[in-house]
Amino acid sequence: MNFWQFANPTVFMSWSGKLLPWAWLTALASLAVALVWGFFFTPDDFRMGSTVKIIYIHVPAAMMAINAWLMMFVASLIWFIRRHHVSALAAKAAAPIGLVMTLIAIATGAIWGKPMWGTYWAWDPRLTSFLILCFFFVGYIALWEALESSDVAADLTSVLCLVGSVFALLSRYAVQFWNQGLHQGTSVPVATGERTVDDVFFAPLALAMLGFGLLFIALVLTRTRTELRLRRARALEARQRMRLEQSV
């Protein structure tokens, strides 16, 4: 079986329908375990106290915000090259989720920042680049909403996403050039593998990351299926209208 057959709308509906309950179940289970574990069964940090516990939402949300854009980039590229409708609709479905993840990361960061940094907001590179990412999400969603024909909308938004990725990346490094940071470095560097987080905190954090990832998959699948069904319903409506006109 060819890999691209999974992108056939009918095939997609069938496999995603089978996968969806499992995605939701594992996502909710791992999130519930991770958050309860993180909130109630880990010690307070000796310097940050119990505020450290916001990390179990803040870090996974921030991670998924960036990954959502990355997923939209790949999906746009697939639509641009191979023109699979499922791919375009998946990119459309992922955008609002990414926006909400960005807002969660900013909001939890602000709540944590007030007691720790003494301010809700600082013009720090990481904070500002997330704000800019938020604007890119908003622009992308706004363009989808504004265009009527869905094929043209898929074309134009995919170009916007591809070009936007370049500029979002450029903005991230330009912002670093512009201002020195207040935000701490990453606690879980993937490249070097030298964690600065103790295992006590890291285990529930890793589980929360997994949970957010699964939640993202479940949400994207649900939303993509909704978009596909909406499109079918519209096609059926149009056909019915045509029949009525013919009979008159």
């Binding site: 622009g139 706004a142 504004a146 074309d155 170009v159 070009v163 450029l170 903005s171 330009a174 050039f177």
Partner: protein, 218 residues
Amino acid sequence: MKALFWRDLKLAVASGGGVWLTCVFFAILVVMIPFGVGSERGVLVRIAPGVIWVAALLATFLSLDRIFASDAEDGSLEVLAQSPLPLEALTLIKALAHWITTCVPLVVIAPILGAMLGMPFVSLGPLVLSLLLGTPALSAIGTFGAALVLFVARGGMLLSILVLPFAFPTLIFGTTAITSVLSGSGEMTPFLMLAGISLGSVGLMPFASSAVLRFGLR
């Protein structure tokens, strides 16, 4: 190509003084700042580079909907798309004409406004240089945005939302270029980055813009 370039220039100049309106808008924006923040000289000098850059950005983007809209209305865009001239060249020429008719006048009056905000004489040269290096990127990005909203009814507000986030790098390097001269560190990096962003945008954005036009007109 040349004929199209001259035609665009003539149209921009002829269409109700569009060139002057952009300049006046730019001047009014900058002049409003002292009324907003007070006329204290130290404050004005500190914020002058940022104010002029943000005003230039807004003035540049305000005139974007002119780029394709009139051609799309009278159908000449379809004719141009059918012509042997590649769409990439068409969008490049449109960006160039937009740059000459809106950004160059802004660059010309920017030092006057800078002096009014109390910027020292030595920093006016870097101000002009940073605007000259950075604004081609704005025109190229703007042409892309204009192409995107061409297929949207009433896209004026959407155009700004789409295009403004793209301008963050240009804005950052534009203002740091001037402040590095003002603080006396004399760093060249921001100027080089501006030139790089402009060269990259002018070189690559026409491909994105023409892809958008091709999709939309199909």
